[in-house]
């Protein structure tokens, strides 16, 4: 009897130690597809971060006599680009900018969009109308066009393209945040919190945020791949990164002229974008099912 009681205590302690998010983490780790995706993304990200210390060739050093070498050339495992620069080096270095451009706007939009959406959803009424109708204006334009327009208006450059992408991703996140918050707001525990005398800010922070963050986070991770593709598109159009910076979208653009001469090398930056996008998408799918624990 006492043994059983001790067991229960032990279980209760363990519950405290794990909490909700570590439970989600363990469920995610059990999912093979998600684990594989996380590994691939982590590998690419690690390579990007550690690029200067990996003993790679100079990503800017070209050579007119070694242009467009095919994959597998001695000394150039992934060949060379149209200016004779080592593709492997440039792909690894390219991850620095490409991942940064893919993640930063989504992260910023996640913070701003969640704040606006939760406020709109919780307060309702006129505040909701003001925020949501403003957001609706952005839906009048296709997201690609909007990103190009804002980038173009602000002028080319990395910071401006990050800014334009952030603006593009705020409206969809606000919408998701608002709809989740609206459904949470009507639950009894929010009423109970109001009956305790807590103000709207405290209730949003303590009672609403914890219950809406999950679904919004899942949605935001699915936007990372879209963001990377849009960012690549901006670079491709010359609105984002400027040559000779290595960035996958820009590399795809400059190598496009070589597509008939050396299609495999020309397709490599596209393949990187593809792999990372798929990785983030599958990871967000896995996260969605891992978070669906409830009971």
């Amino acid at each position: 009897m006492t043994v059983a009681a001790n067991d229960i205590v032990a279980v209760a302690r363990a519950d405290k130690a794990r909490g909700y998010w570590s439970l989600v983490g363990r469920r995610l780790a059990r999912d093979r597809v998600s684990t594989a995706c996380a590994l691939v993304i982590a590998l690419i990200a690690l390579g990007a971060v550690l690029a200067p210390w990996l003993g790679l060739a100079d990503p800017y050093q070209g050579s007119m006599i070694r242009r467009l070498r095919p994959i597998g050339t001695a000394g150039y495992p992934l060949g060379t680009d149209e200016l004779g620069r080592d593709m492997l080096t440039r792909l690894i270095y390219g991850g620095r900018l490409s991942l940064m451009i893919g993640l930063t706007p989504v992260a910023l939009a996640f913070v701003i969009g969640t704040t606006l959406g939760v406020i709109a959803g919780y307060l309702g009424g006129l505040v909701n109308q003001a925020i949501m109708r403003t957001v609706d204006v952005f839906y009048a334009f296709p997201s690609v066009l909007l990103a190009i327009a804002i980038s173009g208006a602000l002028g080319a450059g990395i910071v401006n393209s990050l800014l334009s992408l952030t603006i593009v991703f705020i409206p969809p996140i606000v919408r998701v945040a608002e709809s989740v918050t609206t459904s949470v707001r009507t639950l009894d525990f929010v009423d109970a919190a109001r009956a305790s005398g807590a103000g709207p800010l405290t209730i949003m922070r303590v009672h609403v945020l914890g219950n809406v963050l999950g679904p919004i986070f899942v949605y935001a991770t699915s936007l990372i791949s879209v963001c990377m593709i849009l960012a690549s598109g901006l670079s491709f159009l010359g609105l984002g990164t400027k040559p000779p910076e290595p960035e996958w979208g820009l590399m795809l653009n400059t190598l496009r002229t070589a597509i008939y001469l050396n299609p495999w090398v020309a397709a490599l930056p596209g393949a990187m974008i593809f792999v990372v996008s798929i990785g983030f998408n599958l990871l967000s799918d896995g996260l969605r099912s891992a978070m669906d624990v409830r009971s």
Partner: protein, 355 residues
């Protein structure tokens, strides 16, 4: 606001004779099916000119069908929604003028029906109970100690339950946590809105006994809302019967059970399931659904379903009046000899056996 180590207790003001809660002419109307420009919709009279009072240390039950305004009344009293008309007076102080809404929170708390939806799934039991006291300025340590003390009071061992999440508890345990949360601010009035209705019968009995113990220990007053007449009879001192947003009868439990005056109350009592096979309900005492509250019937709102309805019932709305017994009131033309209802005088002679 600086963190305090204790919450100042709520003190009694008017002495034992003053009602703890006095509700006068309380009304709440909801706009329904509003068109795009606010036209073409009706008004739901969820609560219509409801008046009653609750004495100190009393348990008052509110019964009635779904949609009769029981829960709306509860939410009005606790200040979750604002009334359209009427006033609520707590221990002599009028809410909104003499007593601020924030101070009201300390005095009145509520236990909700859905034990799962009323607990935040992301907070531990301890965090849920400590939230209210923290909001009212109690220091984190003191609030935690208070939460542990309350868990012990509702029969849950803090060592086992303080760090659990709601989904790790059974329905009965969750409702005990809800009760502990309601008590965390040291209220004097606790509104129990169908608080035991969703529980298994055996668990329901345990929780009811817990409520009775807590009432004696903490000097509480309950407003007990339920559709289960057995439970209401067991726990209440006085009962209020509501129909379509109005009080149709109120009185001490025994008076109501033995001498119900309103045909609706009698129908409710007759519809009570019984364990005695000789007292089986053979046919439905009243038929049909309650009328649409958007467009309630004129006169007495019950006349469309009342077996004794006469012309006067459709023409004039009866007012609550004394039945002759102490504290027992009903709103029916049949108890008013001056109303002109043919049974009014006959019934008066037949007393005390109403049927």
């Amino acid at each position: 606001m600086s963190a305090a180590d204790t919450l100042a207790p709520v003190t009694d003001l008017g002495g034992p004779q003053q009602p703890l809660l006095d509700v006068r002419g309380l009304s709440k109307h909801f706009a329904s099916g509003r068109g795009l420009f606010g036209r073409g919709g009706g008004v739901v009279r969820a609560v219509d000119a409801v008046s009653f009072s609750i004495g100190k240390n009393e348990v008052v039950g509110i019964v009635g069908e779904s949609g009769c305004g029981k829960s709306t009344t509860a939410r009005l009293i606790i200040g979750l929604i604002a009334p359209d008309a009427g006033e609520i007076i707590f221990d002599g102080e009028q809410i909104g003028t003499e007593l601020s809404l924030r101070d009201l929170r300390r005095r009145v708390q509520m236990v909700f029906q859905d034990s799962y939806a009323s607990l935040n799934p992301r907070l531990t039991v301890e965090e849920t109970i400590a939230f209210g006291p923290r909001v009212h300025g109690l220091a984190a340590d003191a609030a935690r100690d208070r939460a542990h003390g309350l868990l012990r009071k509702v029969g849950l061992d803090p060592a086992l339950f303080a760090d659990r999440y709601p989904h790790e508890l059974s329905g009965g345990q969750r409702q005990r946590v809800n009760i502990a949360r309601a008590l965390a601010l040291g209220p004097r009035l606790v509104i129990l809105d169908e608080a035991v209705s969703a529980l298994d019968k055996s668990i329901e009995a345990q929780v009811l006994n817990l409520l009775i113990e807590l009432k004696a220990e903490l000097d509480l007053t309950y407003l007990f809302i339920s559709h289960d007449l057995h439970v209401v009879r067991f726990i209440s001192d006085r009962v209020i019967v509501m129909y379509l947003g109005e009080v149709v009868e109120s009185g001490p439990v025994e008076a109501l059970w033995t001498d119900a005056r309103h045909p609706y109350t009698r129908a409710l009592l007759a519809a009570m399931p019984s364990l005695d096979p000789d007292r089986r309900t053979e046919e439905a005492p009243i038929t049909g659904d309650p009328p649409n509250p958007i467009d309630p019937p004129a006169g007495c709102r019950f006349h469309t379903r009342c077996p004794f309805a006469e012309a006067v019932c459709a023409a004039e709305a009866p007012t609550l009046m004394s039945t002759g017994t102490v504290q027992h009131q009903a709103a029916c033309h049949m108890i008013d000899p001056a109303s002109g209802h043919s049974r009014a005088t006959a019934l008066a002679e037949e007393k005390p056996d109403v049927r």
